[in-house]
Point group: C2
Chain length 214, copies 2
């Protein structure tokens, strides 16, 4: 469609701008409340001083998520889609405005937290180098089959909230199998952003990816 074509042109511009500045950009997606911001909090606590992170926080409205990240003293830019029609996903345009407002010389790793939605954000390239999905076990094990595009597009799927598994009748092996059926190439990691379990594996995957990019 015209909308996606126009978006792709701007996304390519974003990718050039970020590449020139040596910034590795991650499009962080997932359902509302899957734990995207919580995972960011854990990531910022554990990535050490060598990696300089920056955050673009995308939401329909409020600055609630960016306020949670202020304590990490990293550059955070909030985007709200409500003034532009309340889109359920970030487009490359809004991301470009945010990118151009940041001092990219201070950043090596840029997280762009997208609007909570398991469908539309997967269709819009925003100029990222990696699409990442945070998926909560509380959503159920057959979602990869029902919402395949998101799982197909993502290079890494973080299965979050594993601390709750003992209270659920969700089988994490079935969930993982369903993810592999849709996207055999995805890296699938399990963690609890609440307890910290699995965070080390996620951080070492992240560091590997950044080193590959350099």
């Amino acid at each position: 469609t015209d909308v996606l074509d126009a978006n792709r042109v701007v996304a390519e511009e974003n990718r050039r701008i970020l590449k020139q500045a040596g910034v590795f950009a991650i499009n962080l997606m997932g359902s509302p409340g899957s734990g995207k911001t919580r995972v960011l909090e854990r990531t910022l606590e554990n990535i050490g001083n060598k990696i300089r992170a920056g955050i673009i926080q995308g939401d329909i409205t409020t600055t609630l998520d960016s306020e949670r990240l202020m304590k990490f003293e990293v550059p955070v830019v909030q985007i709200n889609t409500e003034p532009f029609g309340g889109d359920c996903h970030l487009g490359a345009n809004l991301v470009q405005r945010a990118v151009k407002s940041m001092d990219l010389s201070q950043i090596g790793l840029l997280f762009i937290e997208n609007v909570g939605n398991l469908v539309c954000p997967a269709e819009f390239d925003i100029g990222e180098n990696l699409k990442m999905l945070v998926f909560s076990v509380t959503e159920g094990e057959e979602k990869p089959l029902k919402y395949p595009l998101m799982f197909r597009e993502c290079g890494v799927v973080l299965i979050n909230k594993i601390d709750l598994l003992k209270h659920l009748n969700v089988k994490i092996d079935h969930l993982t199998q369903n993810i592999r059926r849709i996207n055999p190439g995805a890296e699938v990691l399990r963690l609890s952003a609440e307890t910290g379990e699995g965070v080390d594996e996620w951080i070492s995957f992240l560091k590997d990816r950044i080193n590959l990019y350099r």
Copy 2:
């Protein structure tokens, strides 16, 4: 926008068709995995023989949810949006096709389970008499502030999965307050579709609403 205007015309047709047949229609929305189908299972188990229910199951792809409902021997029609572009919400057009394929003389209450999404479905009138939101406590207490449109549009909000509260740091009173801030007129009910707690209150609310409609 033109899309919403065209949709509204078809939605009004749906509403006329359903009213003539004496059918009370509910647009059932919520995030992926919030428990929409689980709540439907509990509802069909408990509404008794006097109410003749019918279901339109909307998903991007698969018939997984309608297969779960087959055991209740009620008419179930599956709609998939993938063949029509993979929309993240049901439009009035697809709903009209489904409605016209059903024998409405056998139905008094029609549930239309929408695609799992806390944003777009709230914008598209499909001809329903009531918009209902199933919201899981696992999504977090401040979502009404971050995704206000859905909460503003719904006449009833079912807070689901309350059996998990004791394992979460979510305060259900804060969640309820946030819902009231966005939509003071909404009926807010708490339940666990898993354990059955609160289902009786939901069924009596539902029966009251159907009687009001008659």
